[in-house]
C-alpha cells in the first residue's frame, strides 16, 4: 500500500517552519496533512481556520483556503464559514490557549450545537508564543512564567469537556504516537456530520519543558509515550492508578445530527 505524504497540502517554499527546535507542532501538522490526503480532501474545497499563538501559525504552511483570525475565535469564524457553505470541509486548528481558555465558550457551544467542523487542538499546557504563561490546561503545581511558585489551579480535561458538551466525535492522541494521532484525525475528517474534536497532547520544550526540568524534546516525548494509556485499558483502572496518565483513544464516536442537517429541516418548515 502506498502511504500518502500530504505534500499537496504543504507550502514547501515557506519551510523550514518557525516553531522552536523540538516543538511537536510539526508532528501534528504532518499528521493533519497526511490525514487530509488519506481522507480525499481537496485544497479547493477545504478551509483551515486558525487563531493566534504558536499553533495559530500552522496555516502559513498550507495550500488550502485559510482564515487566520483573532485569538480564541477560530471556532466562531469556522461556524460562519460552514453554515454559509455547508459543502466545504472546514477544519479549525486551535491551541490550548486559543481553544480551551480564551475561546472556551465557543468550544463548548460549538460541541453542543454540533457545528459540522473538525477541530484539532494542539495542547502543550502553556502559552508558548507569549513566553510560557499558564493556560487552562496547565496542571496543578507546574511551573510556568506566571506560576513561579507552582500553579495553584487545576486543569481542564478538554476531551472530557467536549464529550460532555455533546460532540459526535472526540479523541485524544499524543505527538509520541503520530500513527495513532493521524488515524484519529482521519476519522474526524471522514465523519462529515457534527462536531469532531481531536486533542493532540504536545510538548513545549522551550518553555514548559525548561521551566519544569522535563529534559529535552526526545526525553519529553518518551515521557508522553510512557504515560499514555489506551482508553479501553484505562476504563478498568482505578482513579488513583490513572493519576498523571494520558488517556488516549476515542472518547466518543457516535452518529449525531449536525447543525447543517437540522437547519435544512428548519428551512423546509419555514418555506412550507
Amino acid at each position: 500500500m502506498i502511504k500518502k505524504t500530504g505534500e499537496i497540502f504543504l507550502k514547501k517554499e515557506l519551510l523550514p517552519h518557525f516553531w522552536c527546535i523540538g516543538c511537536g507542532n510539526g508532528i501534528v501538522l504532518g499528521c493533519i496533512i497526511r490525514a487530509m490526503e488519506e481522507s480525499g480532501l481537496s485544497k479547493e474545497n477545504t478551509v483551515v481556520v486558525t487563531g493566534i499563538g504558536c499553533w495559530g501559525k500552522a496555516d502559513d504552511y498550507l495550500t488550502t483556503h485559510t482564515f487566520h483570525g483573532t485569538h480564541g475565535r477560530a471556532l466562531a469564524i469556522a461556524t460562519g464559514i460552514k453554515f454559509a457553505n455547508p459543502s466545504l470541509d472546514v477544519i479549525a486548528l486551535v491551541g490550548d490557549g486559543d481553544g480551551a481558555t480564551i475561546g472556551g465558550n465557543h468550544l463548548i457551544h460549538a460541541a453542543r450545537r454540533n457545528t459540522d467542523i473538525a477541530v484539532i487542538m494542539s495542547n502543550n499546557n502553556n502559552y508558548g508564543m507569549t513566553g510560557g504563561q499558564y493556560s487552562g490546561t496547565t496542571p496543578f503545581g507546574m511551573i510556568t512564567s506566571t506560576s513561579r511558585y507552582g500553579h495553584m489551579e487545576d486543569e481542564f480535561d478538554i476531551s472530557e469537556l467536549v464529550k460532555t458538551s455533546g460532540a459526535g466525535y472526540v479523541a485524544k492522541g499524543t505527538v509520541a504516537n503520530p500513527v495513532q494521532l493521524q488515524r484519529l484525525i482521519e476519522k474526524a475528517l471522514q465523519k462529515k456530520n457534527g462536531f469532531r474534536f481531536v486533542e493532540a497532547i504536545n510538548i513545549c520544550p522551550t518553555h514548559y519543558g525548561r521551566n519544569n526540568k522535563l529534559g529535552n524534546a526526545p526525553q519529553m516525548i518518551e515521557e508522553l509515550r510512557k504515560n499514555s494509556i489506551n482508553l479501553k485499558i484505562a476504563n478498568n483502572m482505578k482513579e488513583e492508578e490513572l493519576k498523571g496518565k494520558i488517556v488516549v483513544g476515542e472518547y466518543v464516536n457516535k452518529e449525531v445530527d449536525g447543525f447543517v442537517k437540522r437547519y435544512k429541516e428548519i428551512q423546509r418548515k419555514a418555506s412550507a
Partner: protein, 375 residues
C-alpha cells in the same frame, strides 16, 4: 410621473432594518439577543430560512461578529445586530473584518450607557465607539437612519457599500428609531438597486487574495473557488501569506484607509431642510435629527431662519459638507443624546462661528423646545 411599484406598510424601525437586509440579498445572520435590538434577530430567525438563508444564535457577541466575518468570506452577505454593550464585545473583530476585507453589516441600536445603563432607552453615545472602538488605524463606514423608511433604505445602502468597498459597515440607529412605527414604502425587488462584490476572474494560479487595482479594493474569491483564498488578520502581503516588513505594513494600512476615504463624496449621504436662507443651522443625525426638524419648523413659525443638515453618513465624516453648510450661517446647533460626541467632530471644521450643543443622557429624547432654547 410614474409611481414606483411596491407596497405601503406600517412598520417598526427594527423590522424595517431586517426587511432592508433581506432585500439587499443578506443570507446569514449571527447574533446575540440584546435590548433594544432583539426584533432584528427575531425577524432574521423567522425570515432568513424562508429565503434559504441561515440564522444562528451565537454564545456571545464576540462569536457573532466572528461568525458573520467567516460567512462573508465564504461568499455570502452577512449581518448582525446589537446595542452598545454587545458592540463593546465585538470591537476586536471589527478590526479583523477591516483587515481581511470582509463585507458585512453591523446594526447598532444605541441605548444609554455606560455599562448596562438604561437598557431600554435611546441614546447616541456610540458615535465615537463605532469609529474608534477597534484598535489601530482603519477607516469605517456608518449610516444613520432618522425614520423607519430610512431604516429600510439605508440598510440596503449599507450592504451595497460593504460589498463595493469590502469593509464592515455600521447602521447606527437607537432605541427610539428602532422601536417607533411609521408608514414606509417598500419597492418591488426589481426596483431596488443591489451591489455585489467584485469577483476575481483571473486564472486560479495567478490569483492573489489581496492584489488590488486602481480602486484599491481586491477582487474577491470565495472559499470553495478554484482560486485559493487566504484571509489573514495579521500582517500580510498581496498573497495573504505573512509579511511583517515595515514597507509592506504601511502600504497595507494606508490602502485600507484610502479605499474608503478616497470615495468620501460617494459615501456621504445627507438631507437638508430649510437650508437655502438659514441663519442658524442644526446639524444632527438619527432621533435627534427628528427633534431638530420639529425645532426648525417651530422656529420658522416664529419667523426665525433655522435650517437642518441631517447627516445620514456619519463615517467617513462629511467634513466638506460641514464646511460648505457652515459658510453662510451665523451659528450651529448640535443636538445629540450624548454629552457631546458629534459636536467634537464638527468643531474641528468650524472655527468662525459659535457651535453649541444640546445634550441629554437621561434616556429621554430631545424636545424641540430644548433645541429652540439654544437658537
Amino acid at each position: 410621473m410614474e409611481r414606483a411599484k411596491g407596497k405601503k406598510l406600517f412598520m417598526e424601525g427594527n423590522i424595517a432594518v431586517g426587511e432592508g437586509a433581506i432585500a439587499a440579498g443578506a443570507n446569514f445572520y449571527a447574533g446575540y439577543p440584546i435590548t433594544p435590538s432583539s426584533e432584528i434577530a427575531q425577524h432574521a430567525s423567522i425570515n432568513l430560512p424562508k429565503v434559504g438563508g441561515v440564522y444562528v444564535q451565537m454564545e456571545d457577541e464576540i462569536g457573532s461578529i466572528a461568525a458573520i466575518i467567516g460567512a462573508s468570506m465564504a461568499g455570502i452577505k452577512a449581518y448582525t445586530a446589537t446595542s452598545g454593550p454587545g458592540l463593546s464585545l465585538m470591537n476586536e473583530s471589527i478590526g479583523l473584518a477591516c483587515m481581511v476585507e470582509a463585507p458585512c453589516v453591523i446594526i447598532d441600536v444605541q441605548r444609554v450607557g455606560p455599562s448596562t445603563g438604561l437598557a431600554t432607552k435611546p441614546a447616541q453615545g456610540d458615535f465615537l465607539q463605532i469609529r474608534w472602538g477597534t484598535h489601530g488605524d482603519h477607516a469605517i463606514i456608518a449610516l444613520a437612519p432618522a425614520s423607519v423608511q430610512e431604516c429600510f433604505d439605508l440598510t440596503i445602502k449599507a450592504f451595497n457599500f460593504a460589498e463595493r468597498y469590502r469593509t464592515p459597515v455600521f447602521v447606527l440607529t437607537d432605541g427610539m428609531i428602532g422601536k417607533m412605527q411609521e408608514t414606509i414604502f417598500i419597492p418591488e425587488n426589481e426596483e431596488i438597486e443591489i451591489e455585489n462584490r467584485k469577483l476575481a476572474t483571473c486564472n486560479p494560479e495567478d490569483f492573489k487574495s489581496y492584489e488590488f487595482g486602481e480602486d484599491l479594493v481586491p477582487a474577491f474569491a470565495s472559499y470553495g473557488d478554484a482560486r485559493i483564498s487566504r484571509a489573514n488578520g495579521s500582517g500580510h502581503g498581496l498573497d495573504g501569506y505573512p509579511d511583517n516588513s515595515p514597507e509592506n505594513y504601511s502600504i497595507l494600512v494606508q490602502r485600507l484607509v484610502n479605499k474608503i476615504e478616497n470615495h468620501k463624496e460617494e459615501i456621504c449621504l445627507y438631507k437638508t431642510y430649510y437650508c437655502e436662507d438659514a441663519e442658524i443651522l442644526i446639524i444632527a443625525y438619527g432621533c435627534s435629527a427628528r427633534s431638530g426638524m420639529a425645532a426648525a419648523e417651530l422656529a420658522r413659525s416664529e419667523g426665525k431662519k433655522v435650517g437642518v443638515l441631517q447627516l445620514q453618513t456619519l463615517w467617513p465624516f462629511p467634513d466638506y459638507l460641514i464646511e460648505k453648510y457652515s459658510e453662510k450661517v451665523k451659528k450651529i446647533v448640535v443636538p445629540e443624546l450624548s454629552l457631546g460626541q458629534l459636536i467634537l467632530e464638527i468643531k474641528k471644521y468650524v472655527k468662525h462661528i459659535p457651535v453649541v450643543g444640546v445634550n441629554k443622557v437621561n434616556g429621554l429624547p430631545l424636545t424641540p423646545q430644548e433645541i429652540i432654547r439654544e437658537i
